[in-house]
Symmetry: none
Subunit: 350 residues, 4 copies
């Protein structure tokens, strides 16, 4: 397993408090969706998790819905295999997309008390753990009363099956509403939110959520810091050759770009990425590292979750920790000039 | 003063409960920003208010910031002049823009306890009233803790100086946060929100606010249903002649369109308005009435506030009440097809 | 009254939010204890208040106990005389030392419900105002249950006779205990504390209180930034000649120094002040201005209250606003080296 | 095992209620930090625990951080060995210093929910118990929100893993803040505090904490009543011979004194101890017993925790119970005169 030994010159991991809590998570963390049944087989998962752990990553992120539960099984197998101390790990899973766990979807998805309780129990079984550190609501469920959802997550915490709860891809007003019910009932509110966040997609984190940080102490564990790879700059030199001339609706590249950015909008996004190259070059970093360092320069981000199918990707991300300090106010301003997408909502003062 | 008598064939006024309250407001109401010191002199204000009152309008909307307080004075003078029963009126004012009432702006604007209390006292003095029915926070104040604002509006209510409080142009998460503090402290939460709303500007009312209606019982008193007149169709035949060729940055029409819709976006909006004309024609109504009827067809709208500088405008708006029922599901669907701007956020089910 | 016109080159006043509130107070403010019956006659008080007001000072601090109530009368007379807008003023008074207002001290001092209510009513009468902006508990009262005191200040606020309440010279645990009762009962907690604070006396503000700022949002209105004048450097060249050789227990200078710093400790304090002179010289400011700028460089300080017996003293203090930015991290570190009295208690992170 | 039998003439143990609770603890108790891996091997620990138990001591104090967990194991082994009824024991442990229990310190120290829950589970495993009677926060954690800590200790109590919770070496304001959150949330507040307390170190217990006893019913389980042995008087005749002439910075005696009392301050402390000898002689007790009796004469002290490496030390401490009544008001006043360190903060009256 020599290839998963962390290079000697990797920077020391940085730990951040998860929002307004006493829990510390590694600034870079590993997502669990690339796994058996998903896109990567177990051996690669094991290698990536070991590389991550050895690099000081302590937060491993999963969900019941990833690969129909296989992702949790694979992550649990890695934890068992390496014999890491439970204390040293911050393990998460998410509840919402449990359709794979029954023949009738009606009570296997969403945030009803029934599905939260059943879902957490089954996730723990797949993970082989007594508890997760973090449990997320994987989406808002507008058909379940908020009080029911807040109560159910508190129930799970009171049973010792999770230590903290949070949300993923909720709106600011839904998070505020969850806190309303939590406070009204003396219950624990959602500690963290997991949104997508990158230089190309920042409306929520830098805009809509601006009131949340001071008001609720919301911590962010962001995903997609490379915007599914676009920010690595691999499309800087043009659309891949095989799709350049076809440009029909079925072209996978076009389809993906359109899904990410919307009809007729993705070309401008690629142009923005191209303009970031000189900035990365000047700093002497890769565009991927610039993208990681940029999200980490936001103090509201507790951890940036990366996907990885081989240890080298883990190491590249970890190296970006050294680059955060290169992002001086002047460099950040230059980047803002290129992005031109800074939301205007003022944060709370207090 | 015969000209302010309501025409005999005006439809009967419709009253709607203001959100989840027992207070009933006329579906069409009169805003107080067109007044002495603003754009219209007192006599016209009196005529419009009498026309409105005679047509069954009971809700008259004002703000401390309109015309530096002159708007409240004018409205108060009208109420005194006509001797209407206080019981029959729903009078509002709004606190935030009180910069005119001191030499130092620092504590004369915003939503601190100091300005809310001092502002309400001074508004009541200008209005010549002991209390307003509705007191609004005219904007969110992100420098004042929400708890302070919620407590101050409750204080004003407890002193009998206002009966209900609400917000204007707040975000959904700010409204939810206000409710959090209100519920936590056993206080009264914000009952109503006053947003701009029209066929051309509906992101908040039909999108971001979607969770609020069931969750908090938020009622809407919307303004700008004609989008400052654009929806009357008066620009359907092109930009006014005198500005057609100038098209420079100083052209008032261009400036106004740009302010409303953003750089490079207003032409498409005018095109949408043009496409609505056949719909209005088919129903046999004016485009203004179509615009009024459309906002009133939204059951979350408790009242549509109009501006008026002459009684005829009041009557035209009131007549639109008869047209709401013309907006069948089929017609509404046709309109959606033309607008193409329906937000996608699902409402709460419960 | 030409002499009270602010010099043309006075820096613009700076306003700061008072702790976690929406109220803004001038960073420099004027204390009301130097007045008729105290040390200065009314005319001088009027001149100082006008000089302060004209320089942008909006916060005027008083207490029932200053000069047996004469201080409040004098301040009230100045407000009436100059006709300033009530909105533009932040007026405070303090309740505790009301012994002058009855023949029997038992219920005229302390923080019982009876004395708070009676004391506030009588202070308002002396001030000629309907309400003060800030009401302080002038000392902790360990004979009155905290709940009674918290309830009484809320009562006064609910009656509209004060807008915010706070404490003066309370311990951190007493402030925390007041918040306990306020929260438990859904009442308003103490917003601000008024401690002595200067380069020579900082144990509470920079040590014991460190937990309060984040936990409760406590704002500070500090007094004695010059440590009764010692920090002006006027004793740098030695103890005044007439006391140099006497050094007996009755020498007023020795008595005062001993009272401020304790037996056998004041000589070292004077030595520290001497060492600060080169720092002030290097920055090109007076030692008094260095002392003012230093307290203002602490972001937890909302306002520094000065005493003044002539307008020139007001202006010297206001000029120190320009000097805060001279206190770079390097200069502040140099000062710390000279002071050698930085408390070690860590602040809260969150 | 005859040597661990309590002498026949030992005074009857005295039990005191632990603060404002119904739990009774022996006035003298045994600390668990002198143990295997620490300073004393298991056999001695067993002998001391048996001597203590036989003398009526029911409270045995431990911590996760003592000797990296070995202290808890040793105490647990003693309990198992002697087969004492669980009902008859009051067992404590403390959470904070759990760095030994993982490879990564970040989530193994402090008072996050994660470490409190994991720490308690692991302490119970080492102790071989289902629950402890008392769980302490071994230090304040200024990086974890107080609400999180209060909730986590309540969780542990709700799971039946501890019966009461308290603090050790917290400031008065931190204890008050914990109560604020506990009361606000309807949770159990911290019952007891464990500070160092002796005739030479009393600022907190007799000063800063003075408000706590009546306000929160805080009980004290004090440690270091002999101030690490100095109060036994063993240094009365001068610094031990072998260090008398060295007096360099490395001298262990000097180092220890300096650590306890501060640079240049320890000589005065030793002088104070010397002056206490005549008092002890007059009462016919050892200086150690005078020191024990003095802390026990404070009614706010529920239990004085001693360390012991042999049964004789246990018995000497227990005998001091008889001496408390010798400390008449006159004797206590004489001692105050010698100590000269009585804090001036007035206690609450009510």
């Amino acid at each position: 397993m020599a290839s998963t030994d962390a290079p000697k010159d990797l920077p020391k991991m940085q730990y951040r408090f998860l929002g307004r809590s006493g829990l510390q998570v590694s600034a870079i963390s590993l997502g669990g969706w690339l796994t058996y049944g998903g896109q990567v087989e177990d051996d690669k998962t094991f290698a990536c998790m070991k590389a991550a752990y050895d690099a000081g990553i302590n937060f491993f992120d999963c969900a019941e819905g990833y690969a129909g539960g296989e992702s949790e099984k694979s992550m649990g197998a890695a934890i068992a295999k390496y014999g890491w101390s439970r204390n040293d790990l911050v393990i998460s899973t998410k509840i919402y997309w449990g359709g794979a766990f029954g023949s009738n979807p009606v009570n296997n998805t969403g945030l009803s008390r029934k599905h939260i309780i059943e879902g957490v129990n089954q996730s723990l079984e797949r993970l082989g753990l007594d508890y997760v550190d973090l449990i997320y609501a994987h989406r808002p469920d507008r058909n379940t009363p908020m009080e029911e959802t807040v109560r159910a997550f508190n129930h799970v915490i009171n049973q010792g099956k999770a230590l903290y709860w949070g949300t993923s891809e909720w709106s600011a007003s839904e998070i505020a509403t969850a806190w309303r019910h939590a406070d009204r009932l003396g219950l624990i509110g959602p500690l963290m939110e997991q949104p997508g966040y990158s230089m190309l997609a920042r409306d929520k984190v830098d805009g809509e959520f601006n009131h949340l940080y001071e008001e609720f102490g919301t911590g962010l564990t962001i995903f997609s810091p490379l915007k599914t790879g676009i920010l690595t700059g691999k499309y800087n030199d043009g659309i891949p050759a095989d799709s350049r001339y076809s440009r029909d609706d079925k072209d996978p590249f076009i389809l993906r770009m359109t899904k990410e950015f919307g009809e007729g909008k993705w070309e401008a996004q690629l142009e923005t990425v191209r303009k970031l190259k000189p900035v990365a070059d000047k700093l002497g970093v890769t565009q991927a590292q610039l993208a990681y360092a940029w999200v980490l320069s936001n103090k509201n981000v507790s951890s940036a979750i990366m996907g990885a199918s081989k240890p080298e990707q883990v190491w590249e991300a970890v190296r970006s920790l050294e680059m955060v300090e290169l992002l001086t106010p002047e460099v950040l301003e230059e980047i803002e000039g290129i992005l031109g997408n800074k939301p205007s909502v003022a944060p709370r003062r207090y």
